[in-house]
Amino acid sequence: MGSALYPSPDVMRDAIEAAGAELVTVALRRQSPQQASGSRFWELIRELNVRVLPNTAGCRTVKEAVATAQMARELFETNWIKLEVIGDDYTLQPDTAALVEAADILIKEGFEVLPYTTEDLITAQKLIDAGCRVVMPWGSYIGSGRGLVNKFALQTLRARLPDATLIVDAGLGKPSEAAHAMELGFDAVLVNSAIALSADPPTMAEAFANAVEAGRAGYEAGLMSPRDMASPSTPTLGTPFWHAGT
């Protein structure tokens, strides 16, 4: 889960606990311009006993992202980094070329890089080639709440990258969309606005958690393939057999 936009830190804590989230992202740049340690907000997150995933939100170049990741490693005492390199300010669409370059540099420096990317297969493949074990494609634009806009491409990612951990990051607006992502075989979802900006974040967080469970269970149990029911192949009940096939 993300840690931005909640009405208060208390509500954020309740929501994260209600969801049972294991990873919580923190924006280094926004949270503390100069220092993170000693900040009360940071302590609050630490008290939640979740793994903190600092991100490079707001970075626009490889250099900025790498520098921010290095700062985050020191401040949050973790080598995990959610890598974001933004190419467009309004939609926050990732600059995938810069992303791959930054991932490559950071992995060589010993980071565990979780890159925020688009649904593009080739980019995902390059990120994995660079050494990413997790790839986080968007569902749709950050904060848009539009769900999984390109399901077909997400399905392709799952099919073609069976060994990668895949997380849908960004764009989820409803619990049902989280369930859908999990049904596609994704390993997790990352949610912020949909929960933080709802009227009742803890309840919404729980709804998302239930949806994730349901979607995952559905995936594991094996979903039936949809059937084309347009033309009956056998007589339907209640239809005299001599009418069938005519």
Binding site: P7, S8, P33, L44
Partner: protein, 359 residues
């Protein structure tokens, strides 16, 4: 014999407490490490909006209740002060660019869910916007108008409260660092000054005694914009760069504010300045010719639920967590505290901020 009060912290709250207790016949001593001007206080930075309904976007109902109560008290308060204060009762206007209309709808929905009465918010189209803020009608075709909101010049208020205190029989100790705040005592170095009641109004300065208190950094800019004519606070809703523009006398506009989870009180960052200025420019292109006369930064004192607290102890009462609502709710807090320490009774609004004080 009159009761005695030692008030620590001369932000908006400490100053108002001093004036009120003095009026009630108390012998009051006020302490602050800052100068009389109070430039280090959060109250010096605050934008001075009294906007109980717009704040429903993120604030809890209780803040609205305190705000609505306080709203009616402000005119009386300003009449009591030794100097005039720039204060306008013109409502506030909320707009969004066409692409960001969803943000407006979200605010609208949130306010409707929590509004105490339906007439506090009005959907406005281009004609109504032209009536309210003629210079915005070209750019914005729809918005929300909150008719019953006010704004005041926080620095005028601090000055007028200061002048009032000086003219009354109140002992004001500026430049005095208080070492500790205790039951019935204000400790300065090795000296203990004893009182019937000590009021801890130190804002973030009370952090050593209130470990849950945190700072939420807020940055804002003062612009002198002769080409811009806005008469009321205008809020621009945006998925990331929401801002407000609050008019002061003489074409001065306060553009704010960031909200960053941090205790850092260092100067405004370039990023924040760019965000505030670009957003202001999209509201009114006249800001391009404005001069940037000042930036102001401070941290809002907030508890984890962002609600204020009045925490009474033996001969010591702490009032804190005013967060982004100090001007909005101060008159109510003053009344709740006075009713408790002066009359020994519990104000109806105390529930929720005095009871639910376990943090």
């Amino acid at each position: 014999m009159s009761s005695t009060a030692g008030i620590v912290g001369a932000g908006v709250l400490g100053r108002m407490m001093a004036v009120e207790l003095n009026a009630r016949g108390w012998a009051v001593s006020l302490y602050d490490r800052d100068t009389e001007k109070g430039e280090d206080s959060c109250s010096w930075t605050g934008a001075g909006m009294i906007a109980p309904y717009c704040e429903l976007e993120a604030a809890e109902q209780i803040v609205t209740e305190l705000g609505v109560y306080s709203k009616d008290k402000w005119p009386g308060w300003l009449e009591r002060l030794a100097e005039p204060v720039f204060y306008k009762s013109l409502g506030s206007l909320v707009v969004a660019h066409p692409n960001d209309r969803d943000e407006l709808l979200r605010l609208r929905r949130r306010v409707l869910e929590n509004a105490p009465r339906p007439d506090i918010m009005e959907d406005v189209g281009i004609d109504r916007i032209r009536e309210l803020e003629p210079e915005l009608a070209e750019r914005f075709r729809s918005g929300l108008y909150f008719p019953f909101e006010e704004h005041l010049d926080n620095r005028d208020l601090m000055r007028a409260l200061g002048e009032t205190i000086r003219r009354k029989d109140i002992e004001w100790n500026c430049g005095t660092e208080v070492t500790a705040v205790e039951s019935n005592a204000v400790v300065i170095g090795d000296t203990r000054h004893t009182f019937d009641w000590v009021l801890d109004c130190r804002g973030l300065g009370a952090q050593p005694d209130l470990p849950h208190l945190r700072g939420v950094r807020g940055e804002l800019l003062y612009l002198h914009a002769p080409e811009v004519n806005l008469s009321r606070p205008v809020r621009l809703m945006h998925p990331r760069y929401s801002i407000y523009i609050v008019p002061r006398a003489g074409h001065v506009y306060v553009v704010g504010a960031t909200a960053i989870e941090s205790d850092n009180r260092g100067p405004i960052t370039v990023r924040s300045a760019l965000e505030l200025l670009s957003a202001a420019y999209t509201v009114h292109t006249g800001f391009a010719e404005a001069t940037l006369i000042e930036s102001s930064v401070n941290c809002r004192p907030g508890f984890p639920d962002n609600l204020p607290r009045i925490l009474p102890d033996q001969g010591l009462i702490r009032i804190n967590g005013l967060y982004r609502h100090g001007f909005l709710i101060a008159p109510a807090l003053v009344d709740i505290v006075c009713e408790f320490i002066d009359e020994g009774s519990t104000h109806p609004l105390a529930e929720g901020i005095m009871d639910a004080w376990q943090l």
